[in-house]
Symmetry: C2
């Protein structure tokens, strides 16, 4: 496994691979790797000759009052995990490599998709995400890039960017990986106290229950959201940020469930903001087939 910290060294390696006709899979991460990241690496390993993982806590996707400085880091453990997963190249740049002093260019999905859901409480977040992802795409020139369904809005926004700007690569979305009790894996789960950790499972529980309700025939988005709200509100310390029942591709609000539906929630447990979601494929004419993850 090669660990590189400079753009120059990264380009040398990826160019050599491309010239040799090798395919490249990119897994962009902020490190502090968990089983969700591992699942992305395994999928990338299966589908590509060369697997590149980037580890970079990207400052432009954090708001001024967010947890940039506190974000958990553990480079030694991350490297050991990546060796286990037969990763070929790890790109771990410092901030100055990617954002030199004169930096001033941003890639932004305008329109409502990036402004709803997490965009409401994190107005510059997705601009930071699309900018760093565009940079990584240019640096690595991957054939495929891997993201987790856990970050459903990020997935939708990146797919929109790839379509709109004609990036020549495939975005591969992998299912959310969960703890045994259902909590979606997240590096931010480490912020939780034992009590908050126990309470946080309400997010996935409420989503799974919503899936059952839809399987039972419910098609009113408002009723589905209300059921989730009631469920989460039973936990005294959970402060709901949003509950959204939307089109999975456009993130547009739905009145009646149809097609690929995204049900997404965000809530705070003390100072920790967690998100979770499921996707449900609803065929309004023939009942519903469910692909919740």
């Amino acid at each position: 496994m090669q660990v590189v910290s400079t753009i120059k060294n990264l380009r040398e390696i990826t160019k050599k691979a491309r010239r040799a006709g090798q395919t490249i899979g990119l897994v962009p991460t902020m490190g502090f790797l968990h089983d969700g990241h591992i699942s992305l690496m395994r999928r990338a390993r299966q589908e590509n000759d060369v697997v590149v993982v980037s580890i970079f806590v990207n400052p432009t996707q954090f708001g001024p009052s967010e947890d940039l400085d506190a974000y958990p880091r553990n480079a030694v453990r991350d490297k050991a995990l990546m060796v286990e997963e037969a990763v070929d190249v790890v790109f771990m740049p410092n901030v100055e490599q990617l954002y030199p002093d004169e930096f001033t260019t941003f890639v932004e999905v305008e329109g409502p998709m990036a402004q709803v859901l997490c965009g409401q409480s994190r107005p510059t977040h997705f601009r930071g995400v699309t900018t760093i992802v565009a940079k990584l795409f240019h640096l690595v020139a991957p054939d495929r890039a891997y993201f987790g369904q856990k970050d459903a809005q990020q997935v939708a926004v990146i797919q929109q960017m790839v379509r709109d700007l004609d990036f020549d690569l495939q975005v591969v979305i992998c299912p959310t990986v969960r703890e045994t009790d259902g909590l979606a894996m997240s590096s931010r789960n480490t912020y939780l106290s034992p009590r908050q950790r126990a309470e946080a499972v309400v997010l996935s529980k409420s989503l799974f229950e919503a899936r059952e309700v839809i399987a039972g025939g419910e098609r009113r988005a408002g009723a589905v959201a209300q059921g989730i709200k009631v469920r989460i509100s039973e936990v005294p310390d959970a402060v709901i940020d949003y509950i959204a029942v939307v089109d999975a591709r456009t993130l547009a609000d739905l009145d009646t469930l149809t097609g690929e539906v995204l049900i997404a929630v965000a809530a705070r447990f003390g100072g920790t903001r967690l998100i979770d979601n499921i996707r449900v494929a609803v065929s309004i004419h023939e009942g519903c087939s469910i692909t919740g993850r």
Copy 2:
């Protein structure tokens, strides 16, 4: 010469070239080709195995009251000229190919560089330019892309975008090509009446005189700008938009000329807005060496 109108066909050709190890030079244009464009094609022809020219009047770089619909077009003549110049591939898409209905992603150089000079009267212009250029870079994946120094601010903004977003290509800037009397070549020159055409030469004349004044020792930016203003004001129908004496790379205002200096002017002749500029390399300690173009 292959003329393609779809993204799919363009990608097939450029991918085949890359797989064969060929270098690609891209000349992005809005068509209605003149000797300035030709000079870009010839330079691209010298330096690359495959020359791709795009002809696309990009709507996102025109303001609502600007000349998008009136912009001159002549595809038949353009094609004949490109055959003469041994261009390999011409990409002539329609608007729907590059901007489908759901399009919503923009690349923007924020900060002052895109807001000064032409950015003041054309506030969304450079966002449109960087967005379409990023798209063309992704579609063609050129080794080199060719632009004219005539559009000095466009050059500075595109170079900033390439640096900031880590595009893996070389931006090649070619000197402004001029008519015999000095008027910078522009597709918009066709808008001019014979009288306006005669008057418009004042732009280049004022710039060349400024170069002489600097060669004579003038180092005060304000004095250089004032000289240009007086000269252009002698033409009754010329309405000055701006006269700028700035750092050529950052477009930041200068008080005292030093380093690579850009002297840029914009003025209206009737309904036609024209721009021109020269670059002057000023070494404050050892006199000045001049590379005006």
